[in-house]
Amino acid sequence: MNRSAIDLWVGIFVAIGFGAIIFLALKVGNLVTLDSTPGYHLDASFDNIGGLKLRAPVKAAGVVVGRVEKVRLDTKTYDAVVTLRIDRQYEFTKDTIASINTSGLLGEVYIGLDAGGDSVMLKDGDRIGKTQSAVVIEKLISQFLFDKASGGAAGEAAPVKTVEKPAGETKK
């Protein structure tokens, strides 16, 4: 094999190799999370962040506008303080509400931002005032059971009896 043929084949090999890397980077992976994209930081404190993870998406109307960058515990108020990194091209009003949502029952946990009507915009380092904590399923279930139990003790003893009565009737 002469030298120019080898050069050609190596050139083809390197070209398709880099093509594969570019394919992996652009078509398979997303570049949104690259720290080099210009952005600004917002803080938000929650009573409970549930299963929120670092680098979880921040979405407004379903569009990813940033990522969760830091999660820490405020030792004075015992709230979770979440630092969000928002793309510079997106601005949010001062009365924006941040809530922790789950996409589907088993889906990923993300922070949703709902912009309000204020004319003043949030700046780098600002804190989002209104937040809504994560819904913890166990708490929800226990609350539901507790309500059911206390409701039954107060005045809903009758349905239990109606269940017993037909059973007795069928015996006779």
């Binding site: 080898i6 992996l24 992976g29 997303n30 999370t33």
Partner: protein
Amino acid sequence: MSAELTAGVAQWLRRIGGAVTGAASKLGFVSRFLLAVLWHTPGAFRRMHLTLREIYFAGVLSLVIILMSGLFVGMVLSLQGYETLKRYGADEQLGILVALSLVRELGPVMSGLLFASRAGSAITAEIGLMKTTEQLAAMEMMAVDPLARVVAPRFWGGVISMPLLAALFSAFGIFGGYVVGVRLIGIDAGAFWGQMKAGVDVWPDVTNGIIKSFVFGIAVSLIAVFEGYDAKPTAEGVSSATTRTVVMSSLMILALDFVMTVFMFRGASVI
């Protein structure tokens, strides 16, 4: 009786000690060998056609096996992943399963193993045979350094080829997964690519995969050229050196993969 026992224990200890010092001295030899190869790298790159020739032999000629394996691994991953994901009604997540397993683990590891057996063994056999037929000694007689002329181009040919081969393996695997998942099973193409794009990050997933394959390239190439250079100059010596290359590089790839995975994806998976 007791004298015999102490002699037996001493013999046993001596054997352990010999094995340890042998391994340590070999490790030292390998390290010095690597430094020598790196030292001769500028000389090897000055005659670029030598390195290009080795990229041709190690990379271009490995393309067929790498691409075919990638395609089949991706197809089988898609088929098996679908069976499991279907039970949880999460079959739309197939794209992310295929892409993450290929980009993070299977791409670098499988192409590293294939590269070790396809190209690494050939490099060892070639250098070992050059040593057996005293071509290396003849080069030294002609004041041509075999490290610069023979070893360094082969080392760099492997190091350069390996990340490209791993990326091609992953890309073809994802294509194979797409063919089976979307064309054969009938998952929505938009969900396949969309979930994949949402779940795979360029940093850390794709970048760490490339770093892994680069490290594997260094490990396999170093083991291959070293075993060839260190081979006993007999027919048996060359054959056992070739075997050692494949065994050692495979073990090295799997061990290094575990260590690198622990450090690379610890943050991503725990927090």
